[in-house]
Each structure stands twice: as structure tokens, then as C-alpha cells.
Symmetry: C2
Subunit: 634 residues, 2 copies
């Protein structure tokens, strides 16, 4: 099968949690990020992105390059990710002013393209001779990939093809080099592979499929980076050309067994691999993707869907090494895990992929953004202690509060584009089969004649209503692994479900109303005792939401224990968070104040309040924990 | 008061735990380390120490310097620490052959001294012009300090003064520069301060007291390191001259409040400060030392007496940050904590200092050395998981097995000198008052006419017998904080004890026999809930020994929980470890194998075996934990 995500304009949000998020992105994030790109946002770090493009255009015309290039080697990608998010947002909420802004930016970008199709301001402004001499660090293919994604999105959302044509020329330039001329190499930061598959999807040009396959299949087959490093004699950051693990070039991709290295690079690569397998029906390659998927979700993923256990190389570490306080769990990596899940669902409709996609989205990806859409976490720890977190060297990256725009501003636009395109994660179709992977209220056009309207208060409500607006076929609705029960009623009558691999299948026709009842009972979750950090602990979950305990509700968190026999209950709606809390019985440890003591501490019964993890850190600096020790009889 | 440690030849070990250790050091460590210094030890890293001295002598004579200097800037200190350990060992166990070796080494060292008294092979061989231009990193004063300690020890042990005269000339050279010529500066790595106080003790020359005070009192009063860095234009490691915290120059010492920076440097500095306060009766300075002591032992010390929570800068971090798995807890730092405790006991006879001295010795310092004396831990974690510990970047320094001699070989000789001089930590005197800080079997001459014989099987036996061999006066015997009871019988009759600040005082005369009965009941220990790592956990202690749980006895350790109501009991003698185990009721968590699950894991009752922490890692690679979660009703 090839169950493709719906087209970007196939989903129109109605009232509901996802729609609210998408409006927040449109109202706060997209305008703010645009101001950042133009260096017009107050208090933000200098971006210079737009100016870099203008300066690159000057360089191409042989004019003085003004104030030159500023920023990271991948600075261009900020503009691309903004354009992609803007495109998705325009598909949801048409907006002439935003579209004009995007058109203007595209015009600036188009001017910066070299006559041979090359497009990258870092190399165009700084040193054209160095183009393509440092694939390990240079991020040329990475930036190109982001612009290809943006171009495809903007074309699908608006029908305008100026950027698409720019990126087609760019992709042809890359094809010419790496396929026609057979030049060696593959990107240090994977991204172009998945983007070329989007270009192939939109343009149908088989060269782009060939090029994606070329990058994937040559990766790690030789010591290319080592030879490249010897030849070039310059470096961006001094990346070790001999350490293949960091950028997943330690082995040919088909021989890779564990998810290793820089977590974002890893899931971007795996997304490309899974996409290629879906396009070509390559079962061997899909098997590799499954193995890497299992490596992540069975051994290397936080309960919040975060991945990357260490800041050192922003990387995966070892099986079951999942420290809560020094976690990296980059927001972008969880976006990437969603990409990977979506790509896997094309070939194999199995709830396990959508379960993880949902886990990553409702917990880490959303935690990456403040509730007001104005500040962002790059790193998403599961335990925060003010005075330690964000302060001492080992915890420097784990900030107790969301900072504003980062010098390395990859996460905010990644959240913006993921949220704005959520429809394409929630819904997909394979022929007559219409798939509902996530519960997202709104109207969906599956592109196969079937249109539905979904109404739900998910993730706080557990009833999901699907009205079939037109067409007929089969509807596959995911049965989430967190739901102990799954009730379905078709046109008011309970129906016995045909459930296979985490999806319930229903024959549907226009006018049908399908109502699903999920189990929203809050529950304790336990972790494998192979994870040292969480032995003797439990967490609290309700539906898709992992909860956490914060100082704002409970005072000091470290002395708290969960009651082993506690049954968590639904608590109050917390206005400030727009979220429903949970209540759970626990204890507060009262010790004699000594660092070490023989005196058994008292444990005083207390009702503890938990709030959704994605809402943490929105009420000032305080202690936070996802996992609490289980106690009571200490 | 000034309760000084006994002279090094004042203690003669008899049978017992300490004597066995001292014999092990003599039999294994001292010969091996000597072979290392001479580059004659099979499988050891190149040392070149002896050759460095020979080459320095050649350089001074204007001859070809052969193969030059090899090693760290502080390489010389390895020879000094070996000589000091050898001196202490000779005081315990006379040995003509060892003494000849030491004499020969001293002759080599003496030849490397410059005519002005300067002694340092790094600068003498590499660049004499750079002498004294990099106090921040150069370690000249550090190496000098270690040779001063060695010289004093060798003189006291053997009566031979050749090295003492060399170091007297060297100390005079330093005095001339920093006092007479009023040149600025103080050592980047404190050590010379405490060493100058030893020189003052042995030689009575007030210049050395003045010089120690000079280094202590000018420290951190200005931006000396910054100015020095600007002037010199070269660096050893690129240490940041603006970060005063690393080497405790962030503030004048009298204004320092928290123990910060490199843990070894910190406690070496504080030892010098406490020694100076004892010599001069400086109450203000002693108050500062108490404050820094409290900062360590109340907020920044592991239960094992380890200090330094991070490998980044080998440093203290923040209050209550005491990670078990990524601990640094360098063996040398715990030696230094013993030095600091001993120095504090001179001014204030309080059991709290000796309690920590004992904790550091019986746990971290001894864990630093394999039971066969052949391998050493630099870093002493409290949790080890093979596959993670010593493997991934964040845990690289926490090795699951003791390696051999290190490239930076500071710890093995530090263990050797500390163990070999244990008598001076165990016993001290102030006038007629004879103090027993630690329980060490052997004969002690307090230097005030009182001689005693101590008989005990401590740390596994809890009866301590003191026979007064000659003299009379007052005996102060420490009442350890871990002992719930303290029984005393004088000449067979129970006596009521006069206990003040952790010491019991007894009038004694020649022929008296005092028997002390301590409480050796194994007990659970709890940690302050301010320490995130240990919430919901307990450890097991018996007397001075902290116990741990190892795979060799229990299989997989991570699934183990302690029973909250467990009463640990004395277990078997484990021949392989020469140690008595403990038994404690607990549970083994049996989960469904998933990374995250709603299924409450089973907890199967199990009797767990704990072994003394200092014996861990002697039976192959396995999981180890000091702190176990408390459970049972999961």
C-alpha cells in the first residue's frame, strides 16, 4: 500500500485544540518570525537572513556585497522554514497580506540564485570557490532541502510556482553534479532526501527520485568525508570526518541497526529512507526503517516522545540511557520523529507509528512553544531544578524557562510548520481507504472523493465524531494504545469493530455519522527497569497527554512521592494553562534536614496536582518532574 | 588548642585492616609505581619522570638534553608523591633496599636543582625563560609543594636531610621572589601552602609560615591571573584566566562562602588555610574554613565521602547536585578532604571532622584502589551500568572497571601516601590530651610521653581496646555519629563517658585498659530530598562502611528495590573480597518488557546482598548501585 498524507489544502480546521494552535501560529509565531528574519523583532538575536539573500544577489551581480554574510552556515534555512510554515498557514487561513510578504521574500530569494541554479548565501557571499567542497559541514544540501519543502508547500497552498521553479532549477543543478557528473558525496545533515521526494511528488520528475535514492544509497558506503576533509583544508566547526556516527555515515544505511548520532539528522535521514521505500516499494529498505524505528521507540525515546539523550552532539547515546534532568530531547528532533512516523505509515498502516507521532506532538513538540506562542524551548528536559538546570555546566542546555528566539533558530519555525501542517499528519489515503491517524477537528478532503467532518474536544475530550460529507469507501480510525476500550457507533447504533494493527475499519457512505468513544481514564505509567533514571518511579498519563508535577501547583516537587495504589483522577481546569489538571494521591517526604541521615523520613499524605507536560514552565521558574518516585511506606 | 597529628614514626601497625592495607601498599603499589617512574613497568603508560630529572640536570650543565621533557607540566609531582609514600612506608616497615632506591632518586632530583634553588624539570628542560610566568597553569609551586611534603616525610622517617636541604633551598628561592622581591602571584593549583606549613613544622623557619600566609592572603584579591595571561602570551591548556572559580581565586579566601571549582584544588587550599589558622590562632580564618567545610559536607558531598559532582573542570557544581552515575568524586579529592579534616581537627576537636575523614577514607579513597593494589579508579561513581558507564560521552569518565596507571597519574600515589600515613590521621595530641580520631590497630606514641596499643577488627569489628603502655593524661576517643551507642569499660568496669562534640574523654595512666564498644548494627540511610538523584531511595551502611549492590551477588541491579521496612543484617564473609556482606530484604521488579507500560510491574520478594563500596568492581564488569529505590508495593 501507499497511504499518502492528504494534500496540504485538504484540511480545514474548525473549533478545537488543533485549530487553536494553528491560529496561534498564524497570529503570533509567523509574524514574529518574519520580523526576526528581517531583523525587525525587538529583543531578538540578529538574524540577517533576508539581508544575506540581498547581499548574495549583489555578489552575483558583481556589486559590493554590503555587510556580507552573517549567521550560521545554515542561516538560509530559517527563511525556508518560515516560508513553508507560511504556506501551510495560508492553506488553512487565506491572508492576502501574508501572501504578499511571502511573495516578496520569494522574489528576494530568487535573485540570489546563481545562473547555474546554485542557491546558498553563505557560499555565494563568502567564497564561491568553496561551493560543494564541504558536504560534511556546509549545509548546502540541507538548505536546498528546506527550500524544496517550502517551494512544494507554497505551490500546493497558493498555486504559485515562482519558488518551485527556482528550486526545480536548483534540484537540476544538484542532479547534474551528483548524478550526471557522478561526483561523490552525500549531505552531512540529511534533509534534501525527504525534500527531493516532495519535489518528485509535486513535479513528477523521476530525476528527483533518482537523486534522493543516490544520496541515500551511497551514504556510509565509503570514507568520502575523510577524503573530502583531506582535500579541502578548511572547516566550519571542526567536525570529525572520521566519526561517522554523528551524521549516520558510519555504515551503509541498509546495514544500520541502531538509531545513533545527532538525533535530528537521524530522523530526517530515516524519513527520507522511509519515503523512498514507500515510493519504490523497496521492502529491504523498509525493513531497515522498521529496525531503526524500533531502536528509537523501544529503547531510546523519552515518554514525552523526546529523542536525543545528550547535548554532546545533540545525540542518541545508548539503549535505555534516558536521563530526565540532562535530557536533550530537542524540539526539532520530535518534529522529525513525526516526519518519520508519517513516512512509515505510508507503507504500513500500524497504530504504533501514529501512537508515537501523537506522543511526540502533544508532548515534546507542543512543549517547545510557550502557550502564548512567544518563546520556545530548544531542549525539553523531564526534570527541572532551578539553581541547577540551565546553570551548571552539565545542565547548561536544560533551561528552566523558555528563552526567546535562539541564535540557532531551528526549533521555532519547525514547530510552526509542523503545527500548521497537522492535517497531513492526521489524515491520509490509499485509494478508497481513508485513514485517520490523529484526532483533529475540521473538514478533510481525502482527495479520493471522500470528505468528512471531524468534531472532537481531544486531547481533553474522548469522543470523536466523523460525519461523512461526501463519497464512500472505507475509513480506518486509529485505536490508540493508551485507550483501554474503543467504542464505535455508526448512525447511532453500536458497531463491532474490525480492528487490525491499531486501526478500526469502517465501511462508510455519504451522510453516515460515526462516533468513537475513547478511554480517557488517567493512569499511572511505568518505565522499564532497564532505564536507571526511572526505577521505582511512575508518571501520569491521560490519553495522549503525559503529565508533570510543577512547583506552581505543588510547591517543592523533589520531596513528593506517588502512592503506589493511587488512582489518578481528573482535576480542575486551570485557566492560566487552558488545560485540565489531574489529581493523584501521594506523599510529601519530611526529613530532618541532614544531607544523610539514619532517621526514616516522615511521609505526609497529600493530593498532588499534575498538569500536561506541554504546559510546563508557563508560570515562572519552578521545580518540575515527569517521573515521581513511588513511595508511601518510607 | 592545637591538636597536632602524631609524627609519622609514632605509629606502628599491628595486625588489622589498616596494617594489611599498609602492607599491600608496600608490597604492590610502591614497587610498581617506582617501576612506572623509571619506565620499567610492563603495560603502563610512559612516565619519563626519572629521565626528566636527568635531562634537567644535563640542561643545567649545558649538556645535550637528550630526549627532552615528556609528560604533563606537573609530571615531577609523581616522583614527589612516590617519595612521600615511600617515606611513610619506611617509617612503618624499615627496608634497606627501598631506602636505597629512594636515596638514589633523591640524588637524581638534587642534580636537577638550579643554582638559585629553582627545581622543575618542565621549565628547566623546555624553556628556562618561562619560569614563573604562568602561575595559573605552570604547576611550579604545586610540584615544589609535593617535594616539600616528600622532603619533610623522608626526613622524619629516615633522619636523612638531603632532600630536605634541597627543598629548603627551593623554599628560600620562592620566599626570595614572592616575599623579599614582593613579586605578585599565587599558585593556580594550591598545594605549596600546606607543604610550606610542613616545612615550617620540621625546620621551624618562620619564613615558610610567612610565605604560606602570603599565598593564602593574596589569593583572589586582584586580577593577577588576567594580567599574567596578558603578559605571557603562552598557555599550557588554555585555562580561562578570567574564571576565578575553577582555581578558587574568584574572591579573597576570607570572603569565600561555597566550596567551588576544581575539587582537589579546593580542598588542598582549604587544608592550607586550616593549617595556617591552627598555626597562628587566626579565628577569622578558621571561621572561613568552617563555612567552607559546611558547604562541602552539608550540601556537596557524596555519601561515600566523594566530592566533585562533574567531570567538567573536575569540579563542585551546585548545592545538592550529586549525580550517582556521572559523579566525578576523584580519589585525590577525597584524599584532600581527609587532609582538610585533619587540619580542622587541630583547632577544633569535633567528631564531625573525623566522621568525614573516616567516611572519605573507608569508602572513596579505598575504592580508588583495587583489592590487589594493582589498578586504580580516578573517578568513583555511585552507580555503574556497563554499556553506558565509561562508554557514552556524558559517562566517559565513569569507568566500570579500574584501569591501570593513568596518563595523569595523580591518584595512585595519593592513595599510597594517605594509606601509609594513616597513623597521622588516626592519632593526634595537644599537650597531655591524646586523641584517637580513627580506629587503627597498632602502637602509637603520642609524643607527650603517652604510648598506647590499640587492638580492633574495625571496620568489621566494633570493639576497640586501648592499652596504655606508658605515660598518663587524658584520652579523647571519637564517638562516631553512625554509632547509636557507645559503651566504655576501664580496666574491666563500665564507665560513664564524658562526651563532648563527638569525643569521649578518659583519664588514663600506664597499665590501664580501656575497652570501647561501638554499635555495628547495619542500617538504612536516607538522603535529603533536596538531592534529586536519591529521592525515594535508601542506602545501606554499617559502621564506617557504605555498602553497594553489585551484579556479582545479585544479578541485574536496576530492577531491585529495597523493602521500606527492611532491617539489614550481617551476611556472609565473602572470601574474594575479604569483606563481610550485608543481607537486606527487597524486591525484584518484573515488568512486561516494554519501555513504557500501564501494567503495574510485579515485585518479587528477594533477599539482596550488599558489599562494602570500597570493594566494588573487583569481580568483573557488572551493574552497581549504592542507592536503591524503596519499593515493595509498586
Amino acid at each position: 500500500m501507499d497511504c499518502k498524507p492528504i494534500k496540504i489544502n485538504g484540511f480545514k480546521p474548525s473549533d478545537g485544540f488543533v485549530a487553536e494552535l494553528q491560529r496561534l501560529i498564524k497570529r503570533e509565531v509567523i509574524p514574529y518570525q518574519y520580523a526576526v528574519l528581517c531583523d525587525e523583532a525587538e529583543g531578538a538575536e540578529k538574524s540577517h537572513v533576508v539581508q544575506n539573500f540581498k547581499n548574495a544577489a549583489k555578489a552575483l551581480r558583481g556589486e559590493d556585497i554590503g555587510d556580507g554574510f552573517y549567521g550560521q552556515v545554515f542561516q538560509d534555512s530559517d527563511a525556508a522554514k518560515w516560508l513553508e510554515a507560511a504556506a501551510y498557514s495560508l492553506a488553512l487561513f487565506p491572508d492576502k497580506e501574508l501572501e504578499r510578504r511571502a511573495d516578496r521574500l520569494i522574489a528576494v530569494i530568487a535573485e540570489a540564485q546563481d545562473e547555474d541554479g546554485y542557491l546558498n548565501t553563505y557560499f555565494t557571499v563568502k567564497d564561491r570557490e568553496k561551493r560543494w567542497t564541504n558536504l560534511l559541514e556546509g549545509h548546502e544540501l540541507y538548505c536546498a532541502g528546506h527550500f524544496m519543502e517550502a517551494a512544494a508547500a507554497y505551490y500546493e497552498a497558493t498555486g504559485k510556482d515562482r519558488l518551485l521553479n527556482v528550486m526545480k532549477r536548483n534540484a537540476e543543478h544538484i542532479y547534474e553534479r551528483f548524478v550526471t557528473q557522478k561526483r561523490e558525496g552525500y549531505p552531512g545533515h540529511p534533509e534534501v532526501e525527504l525534500a527531493l521526494l516532495k519535489m518528485y511528488d509535486v513535479l513528477g520528475d523521476p530525476r528527483f527520485l533518482t537523486l534522493a535514492a543516490r544520496f541515500i544509497d551511497t551514504r556510509g558506503t565509503d570514507d568520502f568525508y575523510k577524503r573530502e576533509a583531506e582535500l579541502r583544508g578548511w572547516t566550519v566547526w571542526g567536525n570529525d570526518a572520521n566519526d561517522g556516527y554523528y551524521q549516520q555515515s558510519h555504515a551503509p544505511v541498509r546495514e544500520q541497526r541502531d538509531a545513533v548520532g545527532h538525533a535530528v539528522r537521524a530522523v530526517y535521514l530515516y524519513t527520507g529512507m522511509a519515503g523512498l521505500a514507500a515510493e519504490t516499494g523497496d521492502k529491504e529498505l523498509f525493513g531497515v526503517c522498521r529496525r531503526l524505528w524500533d531502536s528509537i521507540v523501544e529503547k531510546r525515546m523519552y515518554i514525552t516522545g523526546g529523542i536525543g539523550s545528550t547535548n554532546i552532539g545533540e545525540a542518541f547515546t545508548a539503549d535505555y540511557d534516558l536521563p530526565n534532568d540532562t535530557a536533550y530531547a530537542e524540539t526539532c528532533a520530535s518534529c522529525g520523529l513525526m516526519f518519520f512516523a508519517r513516512a512509515m505509515l505510508r507503507t504500513e498502516l500500524d497504530g504504533r507509528y501514529a501512537d508515537v507521532m501523537e506522543r511526540a506532538f502533544y508532548n515534546t513538540v507542543l512543549a517547545g512553544m510557550a502557550l502564548d506562542g512567544k518563546r520556545f524551548f530548544y531542549v525539553n528536559p523531564l526534570e527541572v531544578i532551578p539553581g541547577i538546570s540551565g546553570v551548571i555546566a552539565t545542565h547548561w542546555h536544560d533551561k528552566p524557562q523558555r528563552p526567546g528566539w535562539f541564535a540557532c533558530a531551528c526549533c521555532p519555525p519547525n514547530v510552526a510548520r509542523t503545527v500548521s501542517s497537522l492535517g497531513s499528519y492526521a489524515y491520509g489515503a490509499s485509494g478508497e481507504l481513508c485513514c485517520c491517524h490523529l484526532y483533529a477537528a475540521g473538514e478533510t478532503d481525502f482527495g479520493n472523493g471522500v470528505k468528512i467532518r471531524c468534531t472532537t474536544d481531544f486531547p481533553y475530550g474522548f469522543t470523536v465524531k466523523y460525519e461523512i460529507l461526501s463519497g464512500s469507501g472505507e475509513l480506518a480510525v486509529r485505536v490508540p494504545s493508551w485507550s483501554e476500550s474503543f467504542g464505535a457507533a455508526l448512525n447511532g447504533s453500536a458497531v463491532k469493530c474490525d480492528i487490525r494493527k491499531g486501526y478500526a475499519y469502517f465501511g462508510i457512505s455519504s451522510g453516515d455519522v460515526l462516533e468513537i468513544e475513547l478511554d480517557g481514564t488517567p493512569r499511572l505509567v511505568y518505565c522499564s527497569p532497564k532505564v536507571a533514571e526511572n526505577t521505582g518511579c511512575a508518571a501520569v498519563q491521560r490519553g495522549a497527554l503525559i503529565y508533570c508535577f510543577e512547583g506552581a501547583d505543588n510547591g517543592e516537587i523533589l520531596p513528593l512521592l506517588l502512592d503506589a495504589n493511587a488512582v489518578p483522577e481528573v482535576g480542575n481546569y486551570i485557566d492560566e494553562l487552558g488545560a485540565v489538571s489531574l489529581k493523584v494521591r501521594g506523599f510529601r517526604t519530611v526529613s530532618d534536614g541532614k544531607l544523610y541521615t539514619f532517621k526514616k523520613p516522615e511521609t505526609l499524605p497529600e493530593t498532588l496536582t499534575a498538569v500536561p507536560y506541554y504546559t510546563w514552565g508557563n508560570r515562572g521558574e519552578n521545580q518540575m518532574r515527569v517521573w515521581l518516585p513511588i513511595g508511601g511506606t518510607i
